[in-house]
C-alpha cells in the first residue's frame, strides 16, 4: 500500500491536512491515523506491516484496534488517499 499519487500533505500542529487533486477533497487526520499516513509517506508498506506499526505505536488492545484500523484503511482507499 502507498499514498495515492494524487495526494498532497501538510503537517499542522495537531493533524495532517491532505488534499486529493483527483477528487478536490480536503481531509484532516488526527492521532492515531496521522501516524499511519506519515509512515506510508516515507515508504510503501504492506497492510500487515502497517497494522503492526499502528498497534505497537499506540499500545492498543489488539482486537478492537485492528477492526478500527481496517475500517480506516477501507475509508482511506475509498476516498482516494491510499492505493493498494
Amino acid at each position: 500500500m502507498k499514498i495515492s499519487k494524487s495526494i498532497r500533505l501538510h503537517q499542522l500542529k495537531e493533524s495532517i491536512a491532505l488534499f486529493c487533486t483527483f477528487t478536490g477533497d480536503t481531509h484532516f487526520l488526527t492521532c492515531p491515523y496521522d501516524k499511519v499516513i506519515s509512515d506510508l509517506n516515507s515508504e510503501a508498506r504492506s497492510r500487515s506491516e502497517l497494522l503492526m506499526s499502528f498497534l505497537n505505536n499506540n499500545e492498543f488492545d489488539n482486537v478492537d484496534a485492528t477492526k478500527e484500523f481496517n475500517q480506516f484503511v477501507t475509508e482511506a482507499i475509498n476516498s482516494g488517499i491510499i492505493s493498494e
Binding site: 483527483f22 477528487t23 478536490g24
Partner: protein, 363 residues
Amino acid sequence: MPLLINVLTTPSLLASLSLAQWQILLSQATASQLVGRLDYLLKLTNINPPKEVEWHLSSVTKIANKQRQQALREFKEVSKSLKKIDTKLIFLKGATYIAKNLPCSHGRTFSDIDVLVDKEHINHIEMVLKFSGWLKTEIEDYNDKYYRTWMHEIPPLTHTTRGTTLDVHHNILPSTNKNMPNVDNFNIETVIVDNVGEIYTLSDIDLCIHNAVHLFTESEFHHGLRDLSDFHLLLIHFQKTNECFVKQLIERSKDLGLFDYVRLAIRYTHLSFNTPIDKVTLAELSHQSTLIGKLQDVCFMQIFKPNHSSCRTWKYPIAQWLLYWRGHLIRMPLRLLIPHLIRKTIMRAKDFFKKEEPDTFLP
C-alpha cells in the same frame, strides 16, 4: 467582423492589441463564454497579455480546470454507481472533449456532464442515481414531462455533496426530428482516462457530427459561437493526423442521414474562422436552394457573433427570432409546438406577477 472572431481566426493578432481593444475583446469573449479559450490561445502562441488583463483570463482558466477535475471524477463515480446495470455509459459533448483531452477542452467551461444510457434501463438508472446522491434539480412538472418526452433525457440531476450536474440522455438526438438515427448507428470507442480507466465516447468523426447536429437543431444560441468555435478546433485537430478527415466526415454524415447539419457546420465554421477546408469540398457544400440558403446565411452569420453591444446589429434579434422558430419546428411538429409555447408563455407571465424573491446574494 467582431474583434473576437478575428482573434479566433488569427490568434497571433493577440500580440498587437491595445488595452482598449482588450477591453472590447474581453467583453465579447465573456458574452460568448470564450475567455478561457483566449487564455488557451495565448499560451499556444506564447503571447503575454497586458498585466491589467492577465487575471481576468487566468481566473476563467481556473474555473475550467476545476470543472475538468469534476468531470474526471464523475467518469469514475458515475461508472461505479451504475456498474451493476447492464448499460454502456457513453459520455457526450464537453465531457468527451475532456476524456479525449482535445484542444477545444482547454479553458472551456460547461455546466453539465452529458451521458447517454440504454433506454430500456432508464428508470432503474434514475433510481440508482437517486440513491447515490443525485437529486432532480427543482423544475415544474410540465418541464419535467418536456424533458422526458421530447428531449429524451431525465431532467438534470445535481449531486448533493459534489455539486456537479448530470444530464442523462436515452437518445442521442432530440427525438421528434424525423432524421433521427438511433444510437446503435453511431460508432462508439473506448478511451483510457488516467485514474479512471476505460470510458466510452463517440468516435472522432461521430463526435463532430453530434456537435453539428446539436448546433443546427438548436432554438437558442447562448453557446452558439462557442460550439462553432469547438467545431473549428476539432476540424483543425483531426485534420493534422488525417488529411481526409473532412471527406470522411461528409461521407459518414450522408450514411447517417445527417449530411445537412454537417454541411451547415462546415460552411459556417469556414465563413467565420477561415477553417482550412479544400476548395473542392467547399464548392460541393454550397447551398442547393438559393433563397433558403441566403436566409440561412444571414441568420446564422448574425447568430455566430458575440451577443454584445460592441458588435450586435439590428439584424441580431430578428435572426434570433427566426432561428428560435426554426429550432423548435425541427424538434417538434407544429401541432405540439403551439400548445407547448402557449404553456411556456403562461408560465412566464405567472412568474412576472409573482412577488419577487431575490436570488441568494452574497451578503
